[in-house]
């Protein structure tokens, strides 16, 4: 089962939630944010080059112009490879674990997998972010030796930052799977 739905993030931009149900106990949620816009790219490049040209008229050194071009290219590549996240995916597999993947604009993917033994719960929490109060989905981890204490809080969808309606959909699906997993597991 696969479907797509459009939501908005906390700044008002558009994000697309894509749900895939591979089997009754394996579900995947992909959240894609908007790609790098041509407008902002042009604005930044023009600003940098104008500043470089201004410095050039002051210093009469043509190295400044080459340096500006170099800086712009390296900066753009670095931004695409290390900063701009295009899509975030949450894959939840009953009795195996939860996997979170972030795909960057340059194609790089960084993955984290958490085993089901370590997952205590999936919750929606509130946070104060600058001047706003936002909701975010997070996974509570526990130490297998101490099952009643929370050892770590891992937030999900940190770069897309969707609003509450999108989070509720994901939360409901995850809770179904976690409830099934708790019902069939041996350990408390």
């Amino acid at each position: 089962m696969e479907d797509e739905k459009s939501f908005s993030d906390i700044c008002g931009g558009r994000v697309v939630l894509r749900r895939r149900y591979y089997s009754p106990y394996c579900r995947e949620f992909g959240l894609s944010s908007a790609r790098l816009s041509l407008r902002s790219l042009t604005a930044v490049t023009c600003a940098v080059w104008l500043a470089a040209y201004g410095l050039f008229t002051l210093c009469e050194n043509s190295m400044i112009l080459s340096a500006a071009i170099f800086i712009t290219i390296i900066g753009l590549l670095g931004y695409l490879h290390f900063v701009k996240i295009d899509q975030e995916t949450l894959l939840i597999i009953d009795s195996l674990g939860i996997q979170m993947t972030s795909s960057y604009a340059s194609g790089k993917e960084s993955t984290t997998f958490i085993e089901m033994d370590k997952v205590k719960d999936v919750i929606i929490n509130e946070a104060i972010y600058m001047q706003k109060v936002i909701y975010y989905l997070c996974i509570l981890l526990k130490d297998p030796g101490k099952p009643h204490e929370i050892s770590q809080v891992v937030p999900v969808f940190q770069s897309a930052k969707p609003r509450l309606d999108c989070l509720i959909e994901v939360y409901r699906s995850c809770q179904e799977i976690l409830a099934h997993q708790k019902a069939t597991s041996t350990s408390p």
């Binding site: 591979y22 089997s23 009754p24 106990y25 394996c26 995947e28 894959l91 597999i93 009953d94 009795s95 195996l96 996997q99 993947t101 993955t111 984290t112 997998f113 085993e115 089901m116 033994d117 297998p144 019902a183 069939t184 597991s185 041996t186």
Partner: protein, 685 residues
């Protein structure tokens, strides 16, 4: 009492072992349900409607009180009885409630990708009941003799402490479906009974497999579970075999014959594959009684050079180790502990670096094998670091000897030293006048200025005396670059320290003067207010002074206050110069540290063979079809570069600055001397 043999389907012979027939479920006298319902409740609860359990065997007769509590207590206390079951190799065959994975939980089958195209046969691997998962390690092909298979598995189990067993059957139908094969495979379930019994089947022309897991005890009541309950996870056997998981999972030591306790799900799977290496030594092309299909190695190394190198490495290591131990013994001898030599030795960073390198080399060439992967990586990192060092040093040497660089350097050195001395003289003349518009105390100014000028004059004469020998000294020092770039850089740092020795002396004079002045001022300020420092109580107490004490104290205080700007200015100037020299030396030491401690072998391994250093795993869902079991691909998630450097960095020689910024500022204000690289000799073991 012989072995019975009868021809099976397809003309294959299989022999039945002697002993009681190990069939599946016995018809039980009482109807029971497996695992849930009344079977488990009395054991795990305190107050329920009791039911008499089948196979209730206890050594004693029950006390006939007839109370229900009695039955519950007896049940609960007999838990130790339930630990051996019908399928264990024990003197008794007991039939009772079995503790297995709860029903409804998904069964995970880890299948190696290299066996996906293998012929039909038996699945061999390890069953982990706590996670309801089966790790399949190899496929045994037809024809085989069950006794041989069991013998091989027992052998592997004993040698590697991994509970290897026959888990099920694998059926790869390349031609038309054969009904007889199906029956034959089911018959095998009777010989190698394992609970649950897996049946994986692959048809030709379709990518999707069919998997069935049969639980023997459940088969009488619940029937075979549907395909939905099995999840197939493919893994690359070779990569899993060779990779090391970070952080390394600490597994409890296991005795011979006992099952390994499972620590955490995935670490367990890594460990199972890594420990079963013995199983992978026979493959399907070997002429043995049992033909296995699993990850294949590339075969024996055939190059004679490699073989010769392997043979020669032993004696060469021995020779080098003995030479290095001789060197270390010589360097640790009592001669070096005599006063002038030990003092020089502690101050020069070159000796420190040489000692560090000697330690590294003796560790690399030690004749004992590395105990853990961590030690192996350390050895490899040290070796690569030493090789890179020597290579860079030789590069530097070749550059120095080309175009007569040494001569040019030597000719440039004396004028540079002269220039530095001249600049210092100008600075002192400026201080003796009215520096930055400040008005100095003329007398003190002149005294200090002339004192320092005389020192500079001495220094210049010394440099001029040394100038004919500088080229020779430089040439010999340049030879040391063949020991490594780090040694050359340490020598450079020491040369800078020697050449700026006069700046160091000026700093010490200025700092001592300033320090004395500050302490005197603080003590006389306390006197001015009528207080005193109590050394016993470490606090300020009031004190009544005599009139003449107060008078002299106030006079001295006034003198010191008015002389403060002059001393403070000299102190400031020379401290700044000293800090400049320290910064240059610090940068050189940082570079040396970087070459010493960067784990280049680990970084190269992470770049070229990322599966060796694993931070975890990642899963990818493969193409799905409704009604078929879920298929996942498990890949290794490599460790990020920052974690690689953090985990494997080599210990440096410990010449980092010890002070924080706050304590440094405090020391500068009070005029205490700063030694950024002190206590280096205290850290030696």
């Amino acid at each position: 009492m012989g072995l019975m043999s009868r021809g099976g389907p397809g003309g294959l012979e299989h022999l039945r072992p002697p002993g009681p027939a190990r069939r599946g479920a016995q018809p039980s006298p009482f109807p029971t349900t497996r695992g849930r319902g009344t079977g488990t409740q009395p054991l795990l609860s305190w107050l329920h409607l009791p039911t008499v359990l089948p196979g209730y065997q206890d050594g004693e007769t029950t006390a006939s009180t007839g109370s229900l509590a009695d039955i519950f207590v007896t049940m609960a206390h007999s838990e130790v009885l339930f630990q051996n079951d019908y399928f264990d190799e024990g003197p008794f065959y007991l039939s009772h409630w079995q503790s297995e994975g709860p029903p409804g939980m998904v069964l995970k089958a880890f299948f190696p990708t290299c066996c996906a195209s293998a012929d039909s046969g038996l699945l061999v691997g390890r069953w982990v009941p706590e996670q309801n998962s089966a790790v399949i390690l190899a496929v045994v092909h037809f024809p085989f003799i069950p006794i041989q298979v069991k013998k091989l598995l027992a052998q592997v189990q004993k040698a590697s402490q991994v509970q290897v067993a026959v888990l099920g059957t694998w059926c790869h139908r390349q031609q038309e479906p054969e009904e007889s094969l199906g029956h034959f495979l089911e018959g095998l379930g009777a010989i190698f009974s394992h609970d649950p019994w897996l049946q994986l089947c692959r048809e030709r022309g379709t990518r999707f497999w069919s998997c069935k897991a049969t639980y023997h005890q459940m088969s009488t009541t619940l029937g075979t579970p549907s395909d939905d309950q099995v999840m197939l996870i493919f893994y690359d056997q070779r990569k899993l075999l060779l990779s090391w998981l970070h952080p390394p999972a600490v597994l409890p030591d296991c005795q011979d014959g006992e099952a390994t306790a499972s620590s955490g799900g995935l670490a367990d799977i890594f460990d199972t594959v890594a420990r079963s290496e013995l199983l992978f030594q026979n493959d399907q092309f070997d002429e043995g009684p049992v033909r296995l299909s699993h990850w294949q190695s590339e075969g024996m190394e055939a190059s004679i050079l490699v073989e010769l190198a392997k043979r020669a490495s032993g004696p060469v290591c021995l020779l080098l180790a003995s030479l290095l131990s001789l060197l270390s013994a010589a360097s640790a001898s009592w001669l070096w502990k005599l006063w002038p030599l030990s003092f020089i030795r502690s101050k020069l960073s070159t000796c420190e670096q040489l000692r560090h390198r000697l330690k590294h080399l003796s560790f690399i060439f030690s004749t004992e094998k590395a105990q853990s992967p961590m030690q192996l990586m350390r050895k490899a990192n040290m070796l690569v670091s030493v090789l890179l060092d020597v290579a860079l040093g030789l590069l530097l040497l070749s550059w120095l000897h080309s175009n007569n660089q040494i001569g040019q350097l030597a000719n440039a050195l004396v004028p540079v030293a002269d220039r530095v001395a001249e600049e210092l003289q100008h600075l002192l003349q400026w201080l003796m006048g009215a520096p930055a518009g400040l008005k100095m105390n003329r007398a003190l100014d002149q005294v200090l200025g002339r004192f320092f000028l005389y020192h500079i004059h001495l220094w210049i004469s010394y440099i001029h005396l040394m100038s004919p020998f500088i080229e020779h000294i430089l040439w010999h020092v340049g030879l040391s670059a063949c020991l490594g770039l780090t040694v050359a850089l340490s020598i450079l740092s020491d040369i800078i320290a020697l050449l700026t020795f006069h700046i160091y002396c000026f700093y010490v004079y200025g700092a001592r003067l300033y320090c004395l002045k500050i302490y005197g001022l603080s003590s006389l300020w306390r006197l001015f207010r009528g207080k005193k420092w109590n050394v016993l109580r470490q606090r300020v107490d009031s004190c009544s002074y005599d009139l003449d004490q107060l008078f002299i104290g106030t006079l001295l205080f006034t003198i010191l206050v008015f002389l403060l700007p002059t001393t403070a200015l000299y102190y400031l100037v020379f401290t700044l110069l000293r800090l400049l020299v320290i910064t240059v030396q610090g940068l050189i030491h940082l570079l040396v540290d970087l070459i010493n401690s960067l784990p280049l072998y680990s970084l190269g391994l992470r770049l070229c063979r990322p599966y060796r250093l694993a931070a975890g795993v990642k899963f990818r869902v493969l193409e799905q079809e409704a009604g078929r079991p879920l298929r996942l691909l498990m890949q290794i998630n490599p460790l990020p570069y920052s974690h690689v450097v953090h985990t494997y960095r080599l210990p440096s020689s410990g010449c980092h600055p010890k002070h924080s910024w706050g304590s440094l500022c405090r020391k500068l204000f009070f005029g205490e001397l700063i030694y950024p690289w002190r206590q280096r000799e205290d850290k030696q073991d």
